[in-house]
Subunit: 421 residues, 2 copies
């Protein structure tokens, strides 16, 4: 496909107007939206409001009058449709790592007779590290718990299974529905990490998509119910809520009355301002709130949710598959493809392998095409359908091929490692 | 003391120029800086930079080039002098509740043969709630741990003691040094919550004040060492870092190599970007970092630290004691004093009791004097010496006396409770 054909696809793209919602530096093709999303054009003004009109002018009154106190729930309700959840099922705050700790600890308490956590050694490291810290804590330093790798595919005695829907390195996408059913059939609970899927595709934590509270209620209760028990994810990748934006935690309504929030801070209390002596959990999803929300970071999330409310996720997924397929086609066999070749089996990223991946990526960034590198040898390219177009993909692939053909990456300047890769 | 005398004190106040560093709404005397500090005048521009010049222009490169990755440590080092700590002893991030969880869990792991946590039922609720959640988690739902109230004053079998230096309700200040020595003599570790002292007075986690790394090293190692083992606190009260600003965690250097961060997220790893399979803690204070810092919320902390670097805490404490004493004198016996009468025994707040405290406070706020209310009957007034002056105190006391004398609080409009008190 040549560049004119790509421009024609951009012209007929139903999402094309959304690109104007984002600020992107001149001369940059930004293919790292799977790591940190771009700045929405509306965000600076929302931040100014939060700082000057809310904090500056309302001071402590902002807790009542600017909606700060309810931000974890109001943003949770707005985010819920992006993962196939309904109102009262998602709370926002803290970080993905902390949400994983809450979810896995709660799941273990719901399966007190089991001592196995199935995870993936090759899952995003923080998922695995958090499980290691939790099991050390629970075991009093002893091996009372076993962390078993998914590769063994044995769920039969597992308390909880923790998996990512889309793998951060390869972009491979798992079938949430079948694996959830498999875990449930074995009596295990499942926690899905949605960091690399939310905002890139239709996500379906409830198993059948969320079709309103009444339908969901009717559909619940069976042991073979296919929905996730817990899900977590971040908002700073495809959702574009800014560096270090708060994470989200989904808790299936079946578990909300029985699951415990082990990080039982005062914002999860039934009456935080009664200042009672003992923790008494709030009803519903609020019990999973921990403590004072990072209000200024929430403001940027609110700004980007204004955009997402106008986005059709089916269009996002269709464009995402088209963009990643186009990139793979244009790169051809110049590099080994690490991601699945079938677009339905991958997320919105393409991972390629090169033994000198680090300097290749540095050379590419120097020419305005921004991807990132994951040790030891993977080049990652994320395609955020809201602001990346077909011509961008064409130009990125062309530049990559030039860097490889002319061996531009051999410039010694590209060998120096930066702290964050 | 009449208003002219107060104006004279303001004119000779060595901190008077600092008031211009803050934005305060016209007609408001803001005595809630002990809950949420005022907006520094320089903060909006720093926030704009973080949003537009860092995130917007540098995108994911901000992790390397805007210093985001090291923010938890760089802000920790800048904050350290405010609590009598040195470089490499403080990490910033998350919330106070989460830092308490980390500190108490780490302390329990350092005292594996003990099962008692001494806390206070009347401590700020989240401290107590977090301990309850942690002990439930560790006990597997059983009472393997005992949370004993400080009132019993029995430390002899305690693993860890968790106390606030300044009580959030009464403003009473504890003697950190003697209680720390008492806990240590009993073989317990101690975690100090500094939320209501940092930025209001000289805080001294190291027991003798921090006098440089070499002096501190020489002073360490004895069983009777008087320094805190861990300390936590927030930055949104007297430090003025904004609503939901990140918290801090101090870990004594003696414990840094042995204490475990049970929230072992990837940012506490020795090499986060090596993506190793197993958690391997970083050297030093970095192991207590958890995960992606809330970058936009950190920016507001950085702005206010620019101010604090020019502030003499001895002057802050002297003015704080003078302001609170003046307020108490002016109110006289119109209301029962809940705070200690001796200024050396209280923080920078004055708590007064009134059976109809809620409508009294609402009436006062309606007249431009902002304090807050803590159930069931306490009126709290916080005096932030950086932006509150003697004439402000005079005017606030005069307004309070008028509200009481004329029973202005009986207006039914003031009875309606807001969500956040």
């Amino acid at each position: 496909m040549d560049r004119d054909q790509c421009l024609a696809l951009d012209a007929s793209d139903p999402l094309r107007a959304l690109k104007d919602e984002f600020v992107l530096p001149d001369g940059v093709i930004y293919l790292v939206g799977n790591s940190l999303g771009a700045l929405p054009r509306r965000t600076p003004e929302r931040m100014r409001q939060a700082v000057e009109d809310e904090w500056g002018a309302q001071l402590v009154g902002g807790w009542n009058h600017a909606g700060w106190y309810d931000q974890p729930l109001t943003t949770g309700d707005r985010l819920a449709p992006l993962i196939g959840a309904g109102p009262g099922q998602v709370v926002v705050g803290n970080t993905t790592s902390i949400a994983i700790f809450q979810a896995v600890a709660a799941a273990l308490r719901l399966r007190p007779d089991r001592r196995v956590i199935v995870s993936e050694v090759r899952n995003f490291p923080t998922d695995h590290y958090i499980v290691q810290g939790l099991t050390r804590l629970l075991g009093g330093g002893q091996d009372r718990y076993e962390v078993r790798d998914l590769a063994e595919r044995r769920f039969e005695d597992a308390a909880v299974v923790l998996l990512s829907e889309v793998d951060y390195r390869t972009g491979a996408r798992r079938d949430m529905r079948s694996i959830t059913a498999e875990a449930h059939a074995a009596g295990a609970l499942i926690v899905w990490d949605l960091c690399h899927s939310v905002g890139a595709m239709e996500v379906n934590v409830s198993g059948d998509g969320f079709a309103g509270a009444a339908a969901a209620e009717a559909d619940r209760g069976g042991a073979d119910f296919a929905g996730a028990d817990f899900a977590v994810g971040c908002t700073y990748k495809y959702l574009n809520a800014g560096p270090g934006a708060p994470a989200f935690l989904y808790v299936d309504p079946r578990h909300q009355a029985t699951a415990e929030n082990v990080l039982s801070g005062w914002h999860g209390h039934a009456e935080p301002f009664a200042f009672e002596e003992d923790f008494r959990p709030a009803e519903g999803i609020r019990r999973f709130a921990v403590s004072t929300p990072h209000v200024l970071s929430f403001a940027a999330l609110e700004a980007t949710l204004d955009i997402w409310e106008r986005v059709d996720l089916a269009q996002v997924r269709a464009k995402s598959m088209a963009l990643t397929s186009l990139f793979i086609d244009l790169v051809g066999d110049a590099l080994e493809l690490v991601s699945p070749a079938d677009p339905t089996e991958r997320g919105s990223q393409v991972s390629l392998r090169h033994p000198d991946g680090y300097p290749v990526m540095r050379a590419l960034i120097d020419r305005g095409v921004h991807g990132d590198f994951r040790a030891p040898d993977i080049l990652r390219f994320g395609f955020a359908p809201l602001y990346i177009g077909y011509a961008d993909v064409h130009d990125a692939a062309t530049t990559l091929l030039e860097v490889l053909d002319k061996e531009l990456w051999r410039d010694p300047a590209y060998a120096t490692r930066l702290a964050v890769t």
